[in-house]
Symmetry: none
Subunit: 208 residues, 4 copies
DNA sequence: ATATAAACGAGACGGTACGTCGGGTCTTTTT
DNA sequence: AAAAAGACCCGACGTACCGTCTCGTTTATAT
C-alpha cells in the first residue's frame, strides 16, 4: 500500500508519514521492552511516539497487530543457518538462535504479548494461526524440506508435526518465562530426530 | 485500649460465606464460557454473582487466580486411566480426555485465559509455572513413573522432558484455537514413545 | 407454660462496656484531630479503638452523632465567665474562649465536621438545630438573660436574634477556616451591643 | 521523533463539547435538587448526563467544583436592586431575594453542599473563601460602597464586617435548614443599620 | 452456682462511590 | 489526504467506607 500510494502522488494529498510510522514502531518496541506487556498501551505508544491514537488505529487494527509488527521488524535481520551442516544441527542452531532472540531483544515479550492478546479476539487468533505462525514456520520448514530433498530425512517425514512439536516446546518455555534453560534444547532436538515422525499411510498430514 | 484496657473479648470473626464463594465461581464459569476471555471481568462476575467486588478481591488477588480456581473446580472430576493398558495407550487416552475436557467445558477457555493473564504479572507467572502446572503434571508424571517401574520404559527416561513436550504440543493447539484436530494426538504420542527421551549421562534432567 | 417458665428465668444481660466507650471516643477524637474530617471514618475509629463496628453503631446512630459526642466531651470543661463583668465584656470573653477552644482542641474540626455531616441527613439536621445548638446557646443565652435581669440590657432585647447573629458570625469564620482572625471578635461584639436588637412590637421573637 | 524527526504537524486538537458540558451541569442540577447532597455523586451525574466519568474529571477537579459551577450558573440571572431605594431597603431586598433563590432553586442545596464538601479539602476551602465568596460579596459590597459614596453611610463604615455578619446570619439559617423564617431578615437588617460598624481608628479593617 | 441475655471482637457481606486507566472513535485544525 | 491534538463514551480497574449481618466469646445479672 505504501508503495502504491507514493507512486500515484499526482494530487491525492498527503501520504503516510514514514517518520510517524517509524516513531510508533520504535515507541512500541521501547515500551514493550521497558514496561513489559502489562505496561504496554496504545495510549502509551501514542504519548511516547508523539503520535495521535487515530494515526495508530488508521494503520493497525488493534494492539495485537502493532505488537506483531514490532516482532516482525525486530526479528527481520536474516538468520543464516549454514547449509553444509546436518539437519539436526541446523535445526538445533535455529532453535538456539530463536531463544537468544527472544531472550535478548523485545521479541520475547512481543511474542508472549501477541499470543496473550490473540486470546481476546477471533480475528487476531486467525491472524496468529494462519499468517503470523506460517511466517515463523517458513525457515524451519525449509530446513526440513531441504533435508528431505537431500535424503537426510525420509520422504514421508511429517514435517508439519515436527513444526508443531518444536514450536509447542518453545512456546511452553516462552509462556512460562523459562527461556534461560537453553540446555533443554539439545535433548529435545536429539529426540525429535531420533525417530522422525512419519505421515500417516493415508497421506494426510497430522498437524495444521 | 487495644493494648491494656481490654484484650480479652476476642473471637475468630465471621466465617466465609460458602454461598458467595459458590456463586462467584459459578458466575465466573458462566461468564468465561459464554463471553470468553474478552468478556470476562471482575465487575461482570460480581454483577452476575450478586456479590460485591470487595468480596471477590478479598478472596482472590486478581483475575488470574479466580480463573485458575474455575479451572481446578471444573476439572476436578477424577480422570480414570485404566492401569492395565500399555503406557502409550494410557498416555494417549489421557491427552484425548484432556482435549475433550478443554473442548466441552469452560476449562479450555479458562486455561487459555489463565495463561494469557499470567503474562501480565510476575507473581501469576510463578503461580502458573510452579504450582498450577505442577498439579497438571501430576497425573501424566505418575503414568510415566509407573511405566518405568513396570519396565515398560527405560530407567533413565527423561520424564520431565516428556511432560514439557506433551504440554507444549497441547498448549500450541489450545492457544491457536486448534483443539478440534484431535487426530493429531495419536501420531504425536506414537512418536513420543518411539524413541523415548533419555536423561543426559551426567544425570541432570533436561527439562524444568 | 413454657414461655412463663423461660420468662421467669431472665436477666438483663451484660452491661455496656465503659472501656469500649472511652476507647471509641478517644479514637474518634484522635482521628479527627490528626486526619481531619476527610480522614475520619467509622472503619478507622473501630480500627484505632480496637472495637468492632457493630459496637459503634449500637451506641451511635451514625458518624454525625459520634462526632457530636466528641465535641461535647471535649468542650465539657466548664467555661467560667466572671459575673462581675459587664455584659459586653462577658460576651466578648465567651466568644474569644470559644474560638480558642476551636483553634486548640479537636472541637473546631469536630464542629465543622458535624455541620457538614448534618447536611446529608434530615434526622441529623434536626439533631443539630434542635438539640446540639440549643446546648451551645445555653451559656450565652444565660449571660444575656442575666444582663436583662440586671437591667444592663432592655427588657425587650431580642436575645434569640443575638444568639443567631453571634453563631452566624462564628460559623462563617469556622467554616471558611478563618478562626485565627480573633481580632474580628471585638468589633463584632462592640457593634452587637451598640444598638441591641429588640423584639418586634407584636411580641414575637425574630429568630428561631 | 517527539524532538527531532517531527515537531511540525501540530494542531490545537478537538474542542470541548458544549453539549456534554451542558448535559453534565444540567444533570448535576437535577440530581442535587431531587436527591439532595446525600444522593449526589459523580457516578450519578455521569449516568444521568450520559457522559463518562473521565469527561467530568477532565473539566472539574472534584465534586465541590462541579457543585460550585451549578450554583453560579443557576444564580446567574441578574438580581436587580433599584438604585433609588435607601441602602437598608436595598440590602433587605437583596437578602430576601437571596433567600428566595435558595428556597426555590437548587441553589440552596448547592450552596450547602459546597460548604460541606469544602470541609474535606484544603484546596476547596481556599476556593470557597477566596474566590467563590468574593463573587458572592460583590453585589452587597457594591450596595454598601454606593451608600458610602452617597453619604448614606459614614466614610469609615466597616463594610467587610457587615458582609461577614450578613453572610454569617444567612449561612446559619441555610445550614440549619431554617430558610423559611424569612421574617427574621427585617429585624436583622434593621439592627445592622441602626449602628453601622466602623473601622478601627488605625485603619485596619476588622474582617477578612 | 448457674442459666440467661446482652454486649463484645472480629470480620464477612452487598452496596455504592471513588478517581484512574485504557480501548477505540470522532472532530477540529494544521500542513 | 493525512496527521496531531485531544475530546468523547464506554467500561473496567482496585480500593474505601457504609451500615448490616453472622459468628463465637465474655460477662453481669437474676435466679
Amino acid at each position: 500500500m505504501k508503495d502504491d500510494l507514493q507512486k500515484s502522488r499526482s494530487s491525492t494529498g498527503a501520504v503516510r508519514s514514514e517518520a510517524s510510522h517509524q516513531a510508533i514502531i520504535e515507541a512500541a518496541r521501547t515500551l514493550l521492552s521497558e514496561k513489559g506487556y502489562a505496561g504496554f498501551s496504545i495510549d502509551g505508544v501514542a504519548r511516547m511516539a508523539g503520535a495521535s491514537k487515530p494515526t495508530i488505529y488508521r494503520w493497525w487494527a488493534n494492539k495485537a497487530q502493532l505488537i506483531a509488527e514490532v516482532y516482525e521488524v525486530e526479528s527481520a535481520r536474516a538468520i543464516h543457518i549454514p547449509e553444509e551442516m546436518a539437519v539436526s544441527q541446523r535445526f538445533s542452531l535455529l532453535l538456539t538462535t530463536l531463544w537468544e532472540l527472544w531472550n535478548n531483544t523485545p521479541c520475547g515479550v512481543a511474542f508472549r504479548s501477541f499470543i496473550a492478546e490473540s486470546q481476546n479476539n477471533k480475528e487476531n487468533m486467525e491472524l496468529l494461526r494462519d499468517q503470523f505462525m506460517q511466517r515463523r514456520f517458513a525457515l524451519p520448514r525449509e530446513i526440513l524440506e531441504t533435508a528431505v530433498r537431500r535424503k537426510e530425512l525420509p520422504a514421508d517425514t511429517d514435517i508439519e508435526m515436527m513444526l508443531v512439536m518444536s514450536f509447542g516446546f518453545c512456546w511452553f518455555h516462552l509462556l512460562t518465562d523459562n527461556l534461560e534453560k537453553t540446555e533443554a534444547i539439545a535433548p529435545f532436538v536429539q529426540h525429535l530426530f531420533t525417530a522422525v515422525p512419519r505421515k500417516l499411510r493415508d497421506g494426510t498430514e497430522t498437524a495444521p
